[in-house]
Assembly symmetry: C2
Homo-oligomer: 132 residues x 2
């Protein structure tokens, strides 16, 4: 059995706002845009992995989507977390402070969180240890 994870789908209210966010924050580009009756699917591709974020835009929806407490986030690694944190601040993307996760004196993870325009959390991690 070969299986391949290709995308994570989230529902968003404003396509342009989300496309702008994922481009400014992570350099994702629109790979494909499929408008249908009632909804549009927009695929944002991460050049390095080919992995996509699939935006579903339900036409006419104005009520913000609800998040429950089950789904967490996607994780995205970067080569220089400190410079990205500064850049996120200068872009007014409101990153949380950088957190370090140290266990038995070993740096396990360094990361911050950011929220996309619909409130989905994204963990931005230093490429380090098991988070490559």
């Amino acid at each position: 059995m070969t299986t391949r994870i290709i995308h994570t789908m989230i529902r968003v209210l404003d396509e342009d706002r989300s496309v702008d966010f994922y481009k400014r924050a992570f350099g994702f580009e629109v790979a494909t845009r499929l408008p249908f009756d009632g909804f549009t699917l927009t695929y944002l591709v991460n050049a390095e992995t080919g992995q996509e974020v699939e935006l579903t835009v339900n036409h006419g929806r104005t009520e913000p989507y609800t998040h429950g407490d089950g789904y967490g986030h996607i994780g995205i690694t970067v080569t220089d977390l400190d410079s990205e944190h500064i850049r996120f601040q200068s872009e007014s993307l409101e990153p949380t402070p950088i957190k370090e996760f140290v266990v038995d004196g070993e740096m396990l993870a360094r990361f911050f969180f950011v929220q996309d325009p619909d409130g989905y959390k994204i963990e931005v991690l230093q490429r380090l240890g098991r988070y490559m």
Copy 2:
């Protein structure tokens, strides 16, 4: 800027039940297991992409997680959707019927859905067209 999507994090109630599900359904294996005070992180890796599903198990939680209406699913492609559909049925994984998405006479997508033990939806797609 180089960025790399590495995981999707979901909160689950029963680690063994979820590990068993992702193995039986998609062949994912446990890459790393990190038990902490209060919670455990278990990383399930998709061999073909290196992409991971990160399970967060909050110790002592018994109330099912809620899902809201925002987050959708992860998408996973397979080489033979029909045989996987039969296998999912024989494994009592309760796949939805196969749907075909045809636009202007062109097969855009063939897929079914399955839910993991906590109710997260997973789209299983034939490797075809833009869904490779």
